[in-house]
Amino acid sequence: MNYIEDFRNSDRAKKLLHSIISIISKKWVIMEMCGGQTHSMMKFGLDQLLPQQLEIVHGPGCPVCVTALELIDKAILIAKKRDVIFTSYGDMLRVPGSNSDLFSVRATGGDVRVVYSALDALQIARENPDKEVVFFGIGFETTAPANGISVLQAKRLGIQNYSVLVSQVRVPPAMELILSSSENRVQGFLAAGHVCSVMGTKEYVPISNRYHIPISITGFEPVDLLAGIFETLSMLETNIWGVKNAYSRSVSSEGNVEAQKMLDQLFEPCDRNWRGIGLIPMSGWKLRSDFQEFDAEIRFNVADVQSQESEKCIAGLILQGLKKPADCGAFQRECTPQNPLGATMVSSEGACAAYYKYRR
C-alpha cells in the first residue's frame, strides 16, 4: 500500500471526475472546510476540471487566517519583551497585526523563533532557564494535541519558564454559524480530514440532521477530494443527508480517544473571536484552571489590547463562502503575499494566497 501515490493516481481521479460530471444535474454550492483542502484543490487544478455547475467555496479552516487580530497583537506585545523567547509555527510570523507583525519584531531585535512542534519550544525553555519561553498555540482540533502535550510535559517536569498563548479553535461551531446565517449559500460540506482523525465523525451527525446538510469527511490527495465531492454531490442529487466517511484510512467514527482524553484534561470550551468573522460561542478551547500557570495571557497580563483591522479586507466574508478573493478591491493590488493586508493572503492555505499563487 502506498498511502500517497495510490491516492494521486490519475486514472482513478479521471474516473471519479467523470462520475461527478455524469451525476450533476443542477447548480450546487459545496464548501471545503479546511485550508489544506483549498490549497490541494488548486495545486492539482481540480477546481478547473470540475463541472461549472458545481461551485466550491472555501471555509474558515485555516488557523493562520482566523486567529483573532487581538491575539496577534498580544503575541507582538509579548515577543517585544526583553528576556522573552517567542516561538511559533512559521506561518504566523508574517500575519499582520494592527500595526506590525512578528517578523518586524524579530528584525528589530526581538528573539522570535520558528519551531516545528510545541515540544521543540519546551526544549528551548529547558535550555534557557533564565528566559521566558512562550509558544503561540494556534490551530484547530488537529493541532490541539501537539500543542497541549507541551503543557502537560511542562507541568509534569516542573518547567516554570514556559507558557502558551492559546488560540485553539474548533470546527463544528463554525459550521453551525455558517449554516444558521440568513445569507448562507452552502448546501454541502467536505469536512476536514485530520480534524476528524482526532475527533472522529460523531460530532457532525447532529449538524447534518439539524440542517439537513450532507457532509463527507474528506482527505487531502486529489482522489480523496474527488471522492468527498462525489459523496456529498450524490447525497445532494438524491435529496438525502448524512455523514459519509471518504477518508476512512485515517478517520474512525470515535477518532483518537486517547488524544481526546488528553484534550479534555487540558482544555475547556470557551467563546472565541475569529478574525474577520467575529465571536463564535463555544468555538474555542482554553486551558483549564489546573494549567493556568502556563497561560501566557495571564502570565504577561496582556488582557487589554486595542486592535484595528484593515478597512479594505473582506476575508471574513470569503471565509464564510459569501465572497471570493477576486471580489476584494485590494486583491493583487495593495494586498499581495509580499505585502499582505489580511491573514488569508499570508498562509499558503489562505484562500487569497491560494488564488494569488495559482492565478485564479
Binding site: 500500500m1 498511502y3 495510490d6 451525476i23 488537529t142 517536569l157 485530520h194 482523525s197 474512525s252
Partner: protein
C-alpha cells in the same frame, strides 16, 4: 496547516515519560510524539502533524476505499 504526512515508524522509545518515535517519510527521518497511539508498533504507518502522530493508518480501510472507488458506476445513484 492541518496537512499531515503518513510515515512509517522505525523506532519507538521513551523520553521524559512520553512515548516518542522515529518516523520515516520516503527515506527522510524525523522524530514524532506517539503518546496517544498506545498500540504503535515498529512498521506501522501513522499520520503525523506538527510532530505529533494523530492516528494509525488503517491499511484494510485504504484498500477498501480504493476498491469501492474503482467500482463506482458512472450512472447509478443508489
Amino acid at each position: 496547516m492541518c496537512l499531515g504526512i503518513p510515515g512509517k515508524i522505525s523506532r519507538i522509545y521513551n523520553t521524559d515519560g512520553i512515548v516518542m518515535g522515529i518516523v520515516e517519510y520516503g527515506g527522510v527521518m524525523r522524530e514524532a510524539c506517539l503518546s496517544t497511539i498506545s498500540d504503535a508498533k515498529i512498521g506501522d504507518y501513522v499520520m503525523v502533524h506538527a510532530g505529533f502522530a494523530l492516528c494509525k493508518m488503517d491499511e484494510e480501510e485504504a484498500r477498501e476505499t480504493l476498491r469501492a472507488l474503482d467500482e463506482i458506476n458512472d450512472v447509478s445513484l443508489y
